[in-house]
Amino acid sequence: MIGLVIVSHSARLAEGVCELAEQVAQGRVRLAAAGGAADPEHPIGTDAFKVQQAIESVYSEDGVLVLTDLGSAVLSAETALEFLEEDKRGHVKLCSAPLVEGAVAAASQAAAGASMEEILREVEAALAVARPVAAESSQERLVTLTNALGLHARPAAKLIRIARRFQALVTIENVTHAAARSKPLASTAFSAWARGRDIDYGYGRTDPMRARLSRNWRCLLRGDAATRTNRPNSPNSPESPCHRPPES
């Protein structure tokens, strides 16, 4: 299981980011907070030993991703690597993505079964200005969000899990907001998509995949299902993105 370590100058911030990432991690990612300095009278700062302990606590050979907030957090994280055993060090990656977006994107991807390399690629893509989908290699559909809450964090995480079942690069775009850029799917995890907004999506590859993707997706976008499926006590199967019979 992939591990995720959140390093912040503030203990509360690190714990808060973990709490947020837990919403999409759903027990499929090991999370650890390494926030604050050791001195209780001067708690703001970072502590390489705390980072090292956090890494150890979530370590497996699947890998550990360490996300950091400001400048010296990176130095502490790098120093922490020095205290790790040689054979563990290679499985630990540092990433300078924005802390909140990066953590949620990484947790979503890891919960969906992505490898460390894939997670790094996604999280870094979330950072970069996304490139538009090439028209000749992809198809596009226009879908209207009718979910009252829009496409918020948890359904977006669900969407990512569904999309990962297919070998398709999926991007979504808010066409109502002219300024909104096309983004890789992971980076939508924290975008606020309001009711009634049109979104556009493009995908590639073969027909059966496209059909299934399209069906699941539309169900998610339309449905109250999207907001219900992730609730632990939902009567609906948590594994199914749709609790209604899929459209033909």
Partner: protein, 221 residues
């Protein structure tokens, strides 16, 4: 009494250096913080003072067995307590310095220079700064060159360390007209020009204290 086999720095000299550093950073706490308030976040003095005060307490409670262990304790305490970039940077300096002392009950002059160089190499690798970025390295790099040169000329340890401290002081003053390219001061861009770098200042104090305390004593075996 046995045979005189040369001159060497012993564990007690390294401990004296640490004691001096604790005194010096306490004395310069406000000065360092004032420098940091101009181009940073106004905590470098309090951070260094806190780190070395914690070190004093730790060394009073447990005296490490040899020079390597002393420096390792310094690294650990600084990493834990300094906070900010100075913690991991000076922590890495002492960590690498300690590794260079492995298996050595005492250090000859050349080994002292090697120890400093290992520390500075580690600090540079950690911070990824280069000469002219307006950082500690603008003090440490010229000091290492001066110490290496004096060693080659056959200088005594006192002369080597004095040359290092003198080059460090010049390097510190040279940071004043520089524009910061690393750390928080770099956010200020051209407005960082005209201010002496606080990290460069604490690095100068480190070498100045070394020159005042690290002495080579006759080594009898």
């Amino acid at each position: 009494m046995g045979n005189l086999t040369g001159m060497a720095v012993r564990r007690q000299d390294v401990l004296a250096w640490m004691e001096e550093l604790q005194r010096v950073y306490a004395e310069n706490r406000d000065r360092l913080t004032e420098l940091d308030s101009a181009i940073g976040d106004a905590d470098h003095g309090t951070n260094m003072d806190r780190g070395f005060s914690a070190l004093k307490t730790e060394l009073a409670a447990n005296v490490p067995a040899d020079i390597r262990a002393v420096l390792q304790t310094v690294a650990t305490v600084l990493i834990r307590t300094v906070g900010g970039a100075a913690g991991p940077l000076y922590g890495t300096f002492f960590l690498r310095a300690s590794a260079a002392c492995a298996g050595k009950p005492q250090l000859e002059d050349a080994e002292i220079v090697t120890m400093f160089r290992a520390g500075v190499d580690g600090l540079q690798a950690r911070g990824k700064a280069v000469a002219g970025d307006k950082t500690m390295l603008d003090v440490l790099l010229p000091a290492m060159s001066a110490m290496g040169e004096k060693l080659e000329q056959g200088g005594t340890l006192a002369e080597i360390l004095a040359a290092g401290a003198a080059a460090a002081e010049k390097g510190m003053l040279d940071t004043i007209p520089m524009q910061a390219r690393k750390g928080r001061a770099s956010y200020l861009g051209p407005r960082s020009i005209g201010h002496q770098d606080p990290g460069a200042t604490s690095a100068w104090l480190l070498l100045k204290a070394a020159a005042a305390t690290l002495v080579s004593s006759p080594n009898w075996t």
